[in-house]
Subunit: 315 residues, 2 copies
Amino acid sequence: MILALSGGVGGAKLALGLARVMPPEELAVIVNTADDFEHLGLSISPDIDTVTYTLAGLANRELGWGRHDETWSFMETMEALGGETWFRLGDRDIALHVERTRRLNNGETLSAVTADLCRRLGIKSRVVPMSDDPVRTRLRTEEGWLDFQEYFVRRRCEPVVLELLFQGAGAARAHPEFLAALADPSLQAIVICPSNPFISVEPILAIPGVRQALIDSPAPIIAVSPIIAGQAVKGPTAKMMTELGMDPSAGTVAHRYHDLLDGYVIDHADMSEVVSIDARVTLAQTLMRTMEDREALARTVLDAAAVLRRRKATR
Amino acid sequence: MILALSGGVGGAKLALGLARVMPPEELAVIVNTADDFEHLGLSISPDIDTVTYTLAGLANRELGWGRHDETWSFMETMEALGGETWFRLGDRDIALHVERTRRLNNGETLSAVTADLCRRLGIKSRVVPMSDDPVRTRLRTEEGWLDFQEYFVRRRCEPVVLELLFQGAGAARAHPEFLAALADPSLQAIVICPSNPFISVEPILAIPGVRQALIDSPAPIIAVSPIIAGQAVKGPTAKMMTELGMDPSAGTVAHRYHDLLDGYVIDHADMSEVVSIDARVTLAQTLMRTMEDREALARTVLDAAAVLRRRKATR
C-alpha cells in the first residue's frame, strides 16, 4: 500500500503516474478539501475533482481543471441570465456537483460519495478526502480576509497574502481510513505530492493527530518539491512564499516538512539547492509534461521510498 | 390589459399568439405552479419555464418542453454517475434552475425571480406565478397517491387517476398583481388558455379568493377548449376525463368553468357540441400547428372578448 497526499493539478499528475506504475488498487490518495466551497448552491470539491478526473483519464490538461470532453452551454446561459460566472463550471462537471450535493444533503459523507463516483468512473485507486468535516482555507491579504476561491479564482491570486487560516481544521477528524493506513505495518510509503505546501498539504497536516500519525508511521515519508529553480510549475506557490517572507525554493518547501521527511525529490535544476533537513535527497526530472514524465517520476519516488523503507525497518 | 391563465404547452402557444397580435407589454400570463417540484436539489417550475421559453422564442417545439438550442452533456454525465435521469434537464435549462434555486434560497420570491429572468430573456409580457406560496398537485391513482411529476413524467400518465388534490392551495395567497389586475376597470379580457383543466387551470382557481375575483371582474372571461373532437392535443386531459367518469369533450371542459365563462372558443370539429352553459360560443381552428395558427386563434379570442366586453359593460 502506498499513500499519497495531494492537492490539485501537480499532485494529481504524480498520483496518476503512481497509479500507472504500481497496482492501482494499492494506491490511496488523501486529498485536500480545504479549498472546497459552496457555489450556486452546489458543494464543490476542486482538488478531489481534479484528482478524480485525472485518475479517470478525463482531466482537461489545457485548462488544468475540469474535463477534457466538456461543453459550456450552462455557463453561456448563466451569463445570459445574469448569474455568477467567475467560477467556470462545464456541463459535465456540473452533473458531478449536482449529484454530490444531492447525496451530501441526503446525509451521505463526502468520502462515501467520492468513493462511489470514483468507482463509477472506473478508478481503481482510492480517492479519500482528508476529512469528512468541513475545513476552509481563508487568507488574510493586504485587502483583508478572503475565502480561498475568492482569492484563487475570482481574484486570480493577485492580493498579497499575509497569513493563512484553516477554518474548522481544529475540530475536523482525519478520515479513519487515512489514520488506519498510516499505522498499518504493511504501508510501503507516504508520498507528499508536488502540491502547494501552504494551501494543499498543510491543511491536511493541520488536522489534529495527522502530523503525529505521520511521524509515528512505520512507512518512510518522501516529498516531491513543487518548486523548480525558484518557480512553481503552476499556481501561486512561489509568489506566496515571497509574500510570506520566504525564499521561493525547494529548500523552503523541505523546511515546511522538516519533522516529517525521510526523503525528498528535487529537480536536477536544483541540484545545488541546500536542503538543511535530515532527509535523503534524490535528483530527478520533476516537471511532468508527458505521461512518460509522470510515470518516470512515480518510479523514482517508489524506488527512493523502497530504499528508505529498508533503512527505516533496520533502524 | 389582457390576462391569460395558462399551464404549459397549449397555454403557452396561445400566450405567444396573443403577445404577437397585441402590444406584448399589455399581456400578463398567470401561470400554474402546482406542478413545480424539487429535483436534484433544484427548484423546477415546468409551466413557468414553458411559458417563458415560448415567449422568448426559445421553446423546443419537437419535445414540447425545454429549449430548442439545448445540449445534453449534463444528462449524459448524470447517467454515467448513476444519478437520477427520469426527468430530462438540458445544459441550458439547468442554468435557469440553478440560478432560480440560488435566488429563492436567498429569499427572493418566485415572482421576482421570474420577472427578472423574463426581462433578461427579452420578454415584454409579464409572466406571473399564480402564487409565491407552494401549491403541489397530488394524484390519487389506482396505484396510490403520486406527486405530480412522478405521475406525469416518471410514470408517463399511465396510472388511472381517481382524485386530484392541490396540496397547499388552501393556505396559498394569489399573487397580488393577479388580484389587482382582476379588479382593474381597464382590464379588457381574461383568457383561459387551452390547458388541462384538472392540472393546469383548476390549481389556479383553487387558490382562496381567485374564483370569486374572476366572477367579480369587470372583464369578460373567455376560454379556449383544450379538447378537439374528444381528444387532447397533447397530454392526458382526455384520458383523465374518462378515468374521472366524464365524457372527454369540449362541453365537459366548459362545464368545469360553468360559473365563470362569458365566452368559449371551440374547434370547428366540435360545432355540433352541446355546451350547456350560458356562454357565447365561437368556432375557430383551435389546433395551433404554425405561428399563423397561434396568431389567428389569438385574434379570434381577442375579437370575441371585445364583443363580450361591450355586452358586459352595458349590462
